[in-house]
């Protein structure tokens, strides 16, 4: 018998805390949800769902305090500075709010970004954030070009593409640039239809209808997500094949969407929230990236638009078909 091992066996005994999923004590965790969007907030719903799935009960083991400052980062800055120090366990920010959150250094901050968190300066690297920030990035930038290509695959006659974009969204210029480059490669004219925030969405929609494009590309973002049904309606009304970022748009009548699954993303964000509440250091939690991308197709919309999907490779490539 190896004596050292025997002693090790007698003396040892640490339980794997991540796997042993005991409920995190009776403590009521306080989470701040900070967003520049306005309610209803689909991201918050996704996060809530994730927390519920992990066994958190709102009001009993966790409280989610929402702080919205629609289109007003300055107001958000005020909220951040007034953030009661010490008794907030976690701040979750989505979208542009993250930019404002950089002022926070003593409370862990979880983000869900379309853009690159390293470029934004909130983490040092994806593998080792090294700060109080961590979260997930959607790889929107890389997918922007891919969406144009998919639209072209579906609708080879595409010559002019209207691009509806919320300029209030962080990383929007980069996304637009990636889209523009992709359009150029594919021989498509891009008609930029910018709008700023929820207030201007109506203007944006009107403008998109007027550019006389062959198709419509909508950047994924909370504002367009909230107004997805109206956008899809507009696209059908103008007989525009439409391309979105998330499958929720397709559920609402959008023709195509390509991007990471929101539910998965927010579920994972909730997993990180759980781990941080259990005491793990956010600086050690690598920034997550989606590895699965959904291509959703709405057959009903396709029929309405008179597009013959059988002719393209889209149908067999689709991971989600809505009929």
């Amino acid at each position: 018998m190896k004596r050292r091992e025997f002693i090790l066996l007698i003396g040892g005994g640490l339980v794997w805390p991540a796997i042993a999923r005991a409920q995190g004590g009776a403590k009521l965790h306080r989470i701040f949800w900070v967003s520049t969007q306005s309610e209803p907030d689909p991201f918050l719903d996704g996060f809530r769902e994730g927390m519920r799935a992990l066994g958190y009960v709102e009001g009993r083991t966790v409280t989610l305090e929402t702080h919205y400052a629609p289109e007003n980062p300055q107001a958000l800055r005020k909220i951040v500075s007034e953030l009661p120090r010490g008794d907030v366990d976690l701040v979750v920010s989505s979208g542009p709010a993250t930019r404002v959150m950089t002022a926070i250094t003593d409370v862990p901050v979880l983000f869900a970004l379309s853009g690159d968190p390293v470029a934004l300066g909130v983490v040092k690297s994806l593998a080792h954030p090294g700060t109080n920030f961590t979260g997930s990035t959607f790889l929107s930038l890389e997918l922007a070009g891919k969406r144009v290509e998919l639209l072209k695959d579906l609708y080879p006659k595409l010559r002019k593409l209207a691009v509806l974009s919320n300029t209030d969204h962080p990383g929007e210029p980069l996304e637009w640039r990636a889209t523009l480059e992709s359009c150029r490669n594919l021989g498509i004219d891009a008609a930029y239809v910018p709008f700023c925030g929820a207030r201007e969405i109506e203007n944006g929609l009107m403008a998109a209808g007027k550019v006389n494009a062959d198709a419509l590309l909508v950047f994924p973002d909370a504002v367009t997500l909230v107004h997805r049904a109206r956008i899809a309606e507009l696209a059908i009304a103008h007989r525009l094949p439409s391309m979105f970022g998330w499958s929720e748009y397709c559920d609402a009548g959008g023709l195509l969407s390509y991007g990471a699954n929101q539910r998965t993303t927010y579920f994972r964000l909730a997993t990180y929230a759980d781990r941080i509440l259990r005491g793990e250091d956010p600086s050690d939690l690598p920034v997550m990236r989606p590895e699965k991308f959904e291509l959703a197709v709405n057959l009903k919309t396709a029929r309405l638009l008179g597009i013959d999907l059988d002719m393209s490779s889209i149908l067999f490539r689709a991971s989600k078909v809505i009929s």
Partner: protein
């Protein structure tokens, strides 16, 4: 006395290691050692069995994980194989692209596929993220993937971490016909997570996958993989430690806790699957058994302590009592009694002790009485009392024997009433006794009117001959003065004395309860004969006496006489009349009345 005091004080000092401690320790050890030994052996065997079992479980799980990972990579390889079945011909890029897109749909882990023609030029590139490309593209013939696939049909690239976080690997497959070209797929290894996360060993055991250089490829906690190369140090160590062991090894796990781990190599890839389970869980059953044993041992120890204490106390208590008793006896408290009712040998011993104490008390009383008595006794007697044992032992020594005998006693006794005879005898015996005592001689006994005295035995004296003669003279004078009184009363009684000296055997003779000190030997007979020969008021001595007292007492030789029992005539001496008081009248008459007596 100082010596004795020191000794006694050293005796009363408490012993360094008491009997209680010894008994206690022995009994305790006797009870506890087998208990502990048994538990230890049990635990060690249990541990071995458990370890063997864990080894088997880990082996099976690691093998299963390895098989699934191989299935994962084999799936990719086979799917890529479909891409390179047909040779390239002009204008079928579009068809190849469709195939490649299908492949992406089939295998979620593949991020992008490049299809190369026989020259190594990219013809089709499809990706989930990047724009697809068709038509002649870049020349990749020098790419290690192409070269590897051409040489070996299948090539697995090294694990690379994209942006130092996500693990990727390139897999290349060459067609069986060189014209079919090469298909290269970029694989996101995060998707192996599903394979690894599904493996649960017990409650908290899990499996991980590391590559040849110890870089983490798959872990149930995906964030560990996403940390990229930075975490490879600890996993490289684990891989090394586990790889070095033949079976399951107990090592320090990634969280610093001890784990039982076992590794299995995944063929083709050079990856290692390590299945591990924290020892806290793996050996939970043996730990529980150890706890049970420990509790039992603790219980046993307590019982052993109590029993040993009780036993040792039962053992040492009576001994202490006895010791105390002995101490008390030593200080003279003979009335002390030991009370032990243990029903065993100790009780028996206490009984004997008490008996001894009572006998000692009696003996002490006797000796005290003798002590008291000794104050009133002559020193010889005192000595005799003290050393009676040695003195009274049978021994051969030079003694002086004195015989005295009344003359005319037979006639007197026939003529007189018994009470008159008794009165005379009483006077006579008292006088003889007084003289004997005065001269520290030994009265051997009266024989009617005769008396036998011994000098130099059992108590020795300096000049036995002189003393014997002086005694004889004193005796003769005393009895003669008595005889004078008897004569006045009308009783004609005389007294003759014989003294002889020589070796004799002296000692006590007799039987139980009746012992006499006496002397045996020719000298006794001689003294008796001389006494018979002696006339009234005469003291006859043998030549030995005469020779020894010549200087102090004048003796007159009576010449050679025949003595009964002696072949030759012996010179007989008489104490000079000058030494004797004047003879009362009628002494000659008294002497004639003496009947010859034999001794």
């Amino acid at each position: 006395m100082t010596d004795g005091a020191a000794q006694s004080s050293s005796c009363t000092m408490p012993p360094r290691r008491s009997l209680f401690c010894k008994y206690f320790a022995t009994l305790f050890v006797a009870a506890v050692v087998p208990l502990i030994l048994g538990a230890a052996i049990e635990a060690s065997f249990g541990y071995r069995d458990q370890r063997r079992q864990i080894s088997a479980v880990l082996q099976a799980d690691a093998r299963a994980a390895s098989d699934r990972i191989e299935a994962f990579t084999d799936g990719i390889r086979d799917q890529l194989g479909w891409m390179v079945q047909l040779p390239w011909s002009a204008g079928d890029d579009a068809q190849h692209k469709i195939d490649a897109l299908r492949l992406l749909q089939q295998v979620p882990a593949i991020v992008s596929v490049s299809l190369l023609d026989e020259t190594g030029t990219e013809r089709v590139f499809v990706s989930r993220l990047l724009l697809n490309r068709t038509g002649r593209g870049i020349d990749m013939s020098t790419d290690p993937a192409v070269q590897g696939a051409r040489g070996n049909k299948v090539w697995y690239g090294p694990v690379q971490y994209q942006r130092d976080s996500e693990p990727y690997m390139r897999v290349a497959v060459a067609g069986s016909l060189p014209a079919a070209g090469v298909a290269i797929a970029e694989v996101n290894l995060k998707l192996i997570w599903d394979v690894i996360a599904a493996i649960r060993i017990g409650e908290t055991g899990y499996a991980i996958v590391v590559d040849d250089s110890g870089h983490l490829i798959a872990h149930p906690d995906i964030s560990r993989v996403l940390r990229g190369r930075a975490s490879s140090g600890s996993f490289g160590r684990i891989k090394h430690l586990v790889g070095a062991a033949s079976g399951a090894a107990v090592i320090t796990g990634e969280r610093g806790n001890p784990v039982v781990a076992l590794s299995v190599q995944a063929a083709d890839l050079g990856w290692t699957v390590i299945a591990m389970q924290p020892t806290s869980e793996a050996f939970a059953s043996i730990r529980a058994a150890l706890w049970r044993s420990s509790i039992l041992i603790a219980f046993g120890v307590l019982i052993a302590l109590a029993l040993a204490y009780w036993r040792a106390h039962r053992m040492s208590g009576p001994i202490k009592q006895l010791e105390e008793g002995v101490e008390r006896i030593r200080t003279g408290q003979f009335e002390h009694r030991i009370k032990i009712f243990s029903g065993d040998e100790f009780q028996q011993l206490a009984l004997r002790f008490n008996e001894m104490a009572s006998e000692l008390a009696i003996s002490q009383q006797k000796s005290a009485r003798i002590e008291r008595l000794k104050q009133f006794l002559p020193s010889q007697v005192a000595e005799l009392v003290e050393h009676s044992h040695e003195l009274l032992e049978a021994q051969r020594r030079e003694v002086a024997v004195i015989f005295g005998d009344l003359r005319g006693f037979t006639a007197f006794s026939t003529r007189n009433e018994p009470d008159v005879i008794m009165a005379v005898m009483r006077d006579y015996y008292a006088a003889v006794g007084a003289v004997t005592t005065r001269h520290e001689a030994t009265l051997i006994g009266f024989d009617g009117d005769g008396v036998m005295l011994l000098v130099n035995a059992p108590v020795a004296c300096e000049q036995p001959a002189t003393q014997a003669v002086r005694l004889a003279i004193d005796l003769q004078m005393t009895v003669q003065s008595l005889a004078g009184r008897w004569c006045d009363a009308g009783h004609a009684i005389g007294f003759g004395v014989g003294v002889a000296m020589g070796p004799a055997t002296v000692g006590t003779v007799g039987y139980n309860g009746r012992l006499d000190y006496t002397a045996m030997g020719a000298v006794v007979n001689l003294a008796s004969r001389l006494c018979n020969l002696a006339k009234d008021a005469q003291i006859l001595a043998d030549p030995t006496i005469a020779g020894k007292v010549r200087d102090s007492v004048p003796l007159a030789s009576l010449g050679q006489r025949n003595i009964k029992g002696y072949d030759q005539a012996l010179e007989v001496f008489a104490v000079a009349p000058a030494m004797l008081p004047l003879k009362p009248p009628g002494s000659a008459q008294r002497g004639r009345e003496k009947e010859p007596q034999d001794h």
